[in-house]
Amino acid sequence: MYISGVPGTGKTATVMEVVSALRQSVDDGDLEDFDYVDVNGMRLTEPHQIYVQILKKLQGLKATPNHAAQLLTQRFNQRGKKTVLLLVDELDLLWTKKQDVMYHLFDWPSHRHARLIVVAIANTMDLPERIMMSRVSSRLGLTRLSFLPYNFKQLQSIVSSRLSGIEAFDGDAVQLVARKVAAVSGDARRCLDVCRRAVEIASQQNRLKKAMKLTTIEHVHEALQEMFSSPMIMFIRNASTQEKMFLRSVVAEFRRSGLEEATIGQVLHHHNAITKLDGLQPVSVTSIIKVCNSLATARVLMLEMGRYDLYARLRLNVSIDDVLFALNSDV
């Protein structure tokens, strides 16, 4: 089975929940006993290590990847073993050039006596078609499930269910968080993070005022501002005079040439002119290049690597409008 969906939509949590429900029914005697193994592609250093992990969790043995693969193939060919439920998280990382790992994973269940169920989880819906060879994707089968991003109502109910019994949040505040997050990504993790931050802000303010208050829409708004804001505009606003001038000259050069790329040498001419216009003392070329480098390390500018000196090409990492907005707001 293949499960897909963007991060934070509850794929892994749902599978875990199903497994624990199955365990419960095993304990109740409604179901035959089974082994449960979960592996995560991100927790492996290298795709072939998955064999080692599975073998270790099934039989407690330690082996090299190749040997482990052999042992596992043997085991899944024998009859009369327990059923195994194998959960593979972050499937896309198991991609190798020969795709032998994925092939094995989906080939084992097709053995007659294997009694193996593989549940694979990944982010993209078209992963089987995109990266798998046809013989791998044909073994994967068509049992697929995709998790849609949460809409605001679902997010709202997730947050309210977490908060059930606690009077801490204003109803409108929860709705604002849910709507904002649903508009961007529909990620439940993000939603809970924003709420957590809002509670922190509220408790900080309550401590100052020495009053107990609910987390209101203002707190949530502040938390959202904090977590979704772009640092670029703030950086440009607080940049030094010469840095601002350099950005101004970059914009001037772009306007002159109509291109979105310029060399440092071209920008220098504008910089000199602007310095004179503003009545500041002229600075040396070395200092201007220093300024340019400090903008480049902050990635406001993208600067060509290498020792091109005055001929290094640069482009802006923010839109020109943003730069102008940030520069003009303080005049």
Partner: protein
């Protein structure tokens, strides 16, 4: 009055000067100063987070973003020093420090983590087991913890953006995943100077990151900068307690610092430096030279010292190099400059430069002797080695088929720099000066 002054000189012991030096040097080089107010706020946030991790077993992740030299490391260090004073926290908190420049891949980072956590598979500082075993072991160890019984861990990742360049971002994924899983309480703090660091993270890593960001940006003005200047040089009362001589010296010193910070030319220099860079290290650069020059014969920093240091800092490096070249090389640079101007930035080769130079030396110059072509070529090569000029595209390497006389080159000297250099060149011939002004021979 002269004799009194002389006596004064003798009275002051030489250890007084070395005391002053050590105080000021430790401020400049050991980065222990805190003249910044906005840093305190960031520090407070961090301390708060660590406290919550220790007390309530909460797991968090945080990114501190700020320009180079804005005091990110200072925030972390100050916060940790303060927390270490709290006995309960210092006993239970484990701190793991990683740096992106040192831990260049996940394997090295993991070995370092196991070493710093003193995990039991380490035998005397040497970690055994392969990379994958270490990862499995570490994750196992961290996953077995619970939020109320395990010891909290504080991970500090300096140069966080370099960790994002590791293969698959495995380390970041696992660290952030653990903060989300609510097992061992841990706080992951990343320090970076890249503003676009969020775009470097993979989607699933980004989803697990809690999106707490702290921006450290300089919101101080020129007056605060000048204030920081005097705070940096100001001597404390504790210095005066050593002896009576120290005390009297302290008074004169602080008075001289106060006078200097009110001096117009010093303020002007500070303002210029502030215009270029608002960060504190720029102030350190300015002060290194004056502080190291304090000696028995020169006991106080004067405005002239600051001006001297500023001249070095504001100087243009290329004009300085040009002061050191020979007249022939200077002439070549001038002819290259003319060629660049005439052909509006098109590349030139040695032959063109040589012709231009010949035109000048045959018609105009009566001082310059006629140099032979190999000599001129040698001078040309010397300039290339100084990287004052560069071959047009870097693909032209040593094995290239194009002869060096015909290789297309570009000049890396600005007109302004050349003008400055010629103006200050010791003993520059008049006709060369005139030729630099106009290309007409």
């Amino acid at each position: 009055s002269f004799s009194r002054k002389k006596r004064h000189h003798i009275v002051i012991a030489s250890n007084l000067i070395s005391d002053v030096q050590s105080v000021l040097r430790s401020r400049l080089f050991e980065e222990t100063s805190n003249c910044r107010s906005d840093i305190a706020k960031a520090e407070h946030t961090l301390t708060d987070l660590v406290k919550r991790t220790v007390e309530f077993g909460e797991s968090n992740s945080l990114l501190i973003i700020g320009a180079k030299g804005s005091g990110k490391t200072t925030v972390v260090r100050e916060a940790i020093t303060k927390l270490q004073k709290n006995e309960k926290i210092s006993k239970s908190l484990l701190v793991v420090r990683l740096n992106g420049y040192v831990q260049t891949d996940d394997r090295i980072a993991l070995d370092e983590i196991t070493r710093q956590l003193h995990l039991e598979n380490t035998v005397g500082d040497k970690v055994f087991g392969s990379f994958s075993e270490t990862l499995a072991f570490l994750l196992e160890a961290l996953r077995q913890g619970s939020s109320d019984s395990s010891q909290p861990i504080l991970f500090i990742l300096e140069e966080f953006d370099l960790f994002a360049q590791h293969k698959n971002q495995t380390l970041l994924y696992n660290l952030f995943d653990l903060t989300m899983a609510g097992l061992t309480p841990m706080l992951v703090v990343g320090l970076t100077c890249r503003l676009d660091v969020m775009e470097l993270l993979e989607k699933r890593v980004k989803s697990r990151f809690s999106h707490r960001q702290l921006y450290i940006c300089n919101q101080w003005g020129t007056e605060d900068y000048i204030e920081a200047f005097s705070v940096l040089l100001h001597l404390d009362e504790s210095f005066g307690k050593k002896s009576s001589k120290h005390k009297s010296f302290l008074k004169t010193w602080n008075a001289s610092v106060k006078e200097m910070s009110e001096n117009v030319s010093v303020r002007d220099i500070l303002k210029r430096q502030f215009d270029i860079s608002k960060e504190l290290p720029s102030l350190y650069h300015l002060l290194v030279q004056p502080v190291t020059q304090i000696s028995m014969t020169h006991q106080f920093i004067t405005a002239a010292d600051i001006a001297d240091s500023a001249r070095n800092i504001f100087a243009d490096s290329k004009s300085n190099i040009l002061h050191g070249v020979s007249v022939l090389e200077l002439c070549l640079i001038i002819s290259m400059n003319h060629l660049t101007n005439i052909y509006s930035g098109e590349p030139f080769n040695f032959q063109m430069v040589y012709n231009e130079f010949l035109k000048f030396s045959q018609k105009k110059s009566h001082i310059l002797q006629r140099y032979k072509k190999p000599v001129v070529l040698k001078a040309f090569e010397h300039l290339t080695e100084l990287e004052l000029l560069k071959s047009k595209d870097n693909c032209v390497t040593a094995g290239s088929k194009i002869l060096k006389e015909y290789r297309p080159m570009i000049l890396l000297v600005e007109q302004q720099q050349l003008r400055d250099a010629i103006y200050k060149y010791p003993g520059c011939p008049t006709d060369v000066q005139q030729w630099a002004e106009s290309s007409i021979v």
